[in-house]
Symmetry: none
Subunit: 202 residues, 4 copies
DNA sequence: GATGAATGAGTGTTCATTCAT
DNA sequence: TATGAATGAACACTCATTCAT
């Protein structure tokens, strides 16, 4: 990893825990192992680091969404818990970069308008829309009764949001927390699909 | 309001938006209208302001819980939407002091162990236990089937937590956000109790 | 002298020699004998020191002009070399504060518009107008032929300006330079009035 | 123009306005369009740029003096306003390089001994000697009475020095300022020679 | 000729805090 | 209760400069 990326990496780790203001350029450079003046070769100023992180996150997310979009295509039949585990949990919610960025947006939501909008968008608006389109798709392919799709989507959104804040954006992201999150999420999914009766590979 | 309380008030307003580190003694004193040196007559240091806020919040909450406990006593029959509106929404979630304190704990959750514990406790642990005891009570008085009490409690907790983070701890606490919260919460309650059939004054 | 005035005094000494940019807050505070942070109790920032000096100079000059105006009133007969020595030389051109301020304006004429205007005004515009009014007065009281007043004023202005730049705003303001200035100025005055013939107390 | 000359050109422009200290290597390289490290291929350090400028100026001046010396030789009869316009005004006082160098020496007169000496020499000593020799020559060829030569020389020096500081080393060197300078200088020359009576091509 | 990457020293400025009054 | 004056430590940042490529 080059110096610029190491600065970004270290900055994100620190910002996502202590907040932007509480982390000094000294702190970052000390952890990266460079002199303070060297940082300014790579970034115009402290704010530029934060902006670069936001930029990187937005790129990351949009490429992730592209993968998700094709992966969620129910060509192989139907969504499975594997899909949830691999794409949604491991590659997004549990992913260190994404997780730290969510924490950063959470605690720095008032830092500037860009972060506010990103926080609102990626923690609430987009997740809501994604579940809506997923459950609409499930209804279309007959896996979920049309009449229940909206309600089930709401519940799913509420539960995954609550679990995210409770386990993934609260304290250290330990294996215990990931496991607890996964366990409760899976239990909820079982319950959800149990309501539908029938046998399927959730 | 005396100087000490004005300092606390102003500090909370600022801390809950910008975070502890980003707010300086200068900022606080400027807003209160006193010189920086005067602040040290009322507080030992900056941390002491934060500690006092936490102390005040804990007192506030415990007196609120006492009221709630007696008020939620189903002597008058059963819980109603009035109860939810008055005690839970207006006096807790929407209350400026409580709301700001929740924001403060949210964005300063890593500041020290006390705040971490309070955040964990008041945003996740206690709300979960309260709903659990409420739904247990509802089951005991026959309003809710024993078999459904746990699941309904879970769902209620997930929904109210999600709505809290989405509407009340995200951006300014405007009337629009309060209304949106109330509307969605009530709609959810209707749905929840509709599952039970029967007529009641929820 | 209080701290604020000592800061101004030291700053002027340094600014007028090395220029604003070349003098650091560290330099100033070192010479004054205070810590750098203490300076910011008295001045908002470095620029504020320069602004205060300009403000002080403008006040000083205008009060000086008031005195000059009444002093130059030819009630006692006519202007004399004493008047020139006391009011114009000693209290203005040779005065350490005024002299340093002129140097400062000279070398910092491009620093900002305020200094540019002051430089233009106090080194060229006002001196020209003052000599014009003085020679007009001399003509009115018959000391100088009407026909020669304008030309003599021009010459006087040219000579005193040249001498000022050559001796008083060039290198250290030593006694030698002051003496050289006074000598040449007096010689010029003798010459000037010699042209008029007659006997007078110049 | 090669890179080295472009650096000198840009540096002089900036130094003569803001002063040596206020102009950074960054500023210069930004304006030239090279990276900071590249500058050190052409100059040993920042001071070396200033030294090169002084060196260039001294060369320029001495070659100018050679031309002047032969040109001022009254072989063609006598000095004319053309001579003044072409050699003294256009090629010296108004010349962008010379003008900027004079400003630089003016505002950086305390930077080091070399600049102090150059300032003293080229703004006061040499101009005084040149006029002295010119008027001596004029006296020798009978254009000016022996008795008046010294006084006229003094006056001429005073006026041209004053006009230089007032119009050419004060603010931007606009066409207006050049015109004002030329107009006043010519008017003064007319006056000076008018005193001598007779007819000549000044 | 020019540059990418780095650095030690220094810049102006703000920080929370102290203390005599 | 409140403030004027001060301070050590830290702040983000810029400086001129170096050196391998």
């Amino acid at each position: 990893m080059n110096t610029k990326d190491r600065i970004l990496d270290v900055s994100l780790s620190m910002f996502s825990i202590s907040g932007y203001e509480a982390v000094s350029i000294r702190d970052i450079c000390g952890a990266v192992g460079i002199k303070e003046s060297s940082l300014y070769y790579h970034f115009r100023n402290k704010q530029d680091i934060l902006d670069s992180l936001m930029h990187k996150y937005e790129n990351h997310i949009s490429s992730l969404l592209h993968i998700l979009q094709s992966a969620s295509d129910p060509k192989e039949g139907e969504p499975s818990l594997d899909w949830l585990n691999i794409y949604f949990f491991d590659q997004y919610l549990f992913d260190p970069f994404c997780n730290r960025m969510m924490r950063l947006m959470l605690i720095e939501q008032f830092h500037n308008e860009r972060i506010r909008e990103a926080y609102e968008r990626w923690l609430f608006v987009e997740p809501y829309q994604i579940q809506a389109s997923v459950f609409a798709m499930l209804a279309k392919i007959g896996l979920v009764p049309e009449a229940d799709a909206t309600r089930m989507g709401h519940d799913f959104f509420a539960t995954s949001t609550m679990l995210t804040f409770k386990y993934l954006l609260n304290g250290d992201l330990t294996q215990e927390r990931k496991d607890a999150f996964r366990k409760e999420a899976h239990a909820y999914m079982e319950l959800l699909f149990a309501q539908l009766g029938g046998n399927r590979n959730v």
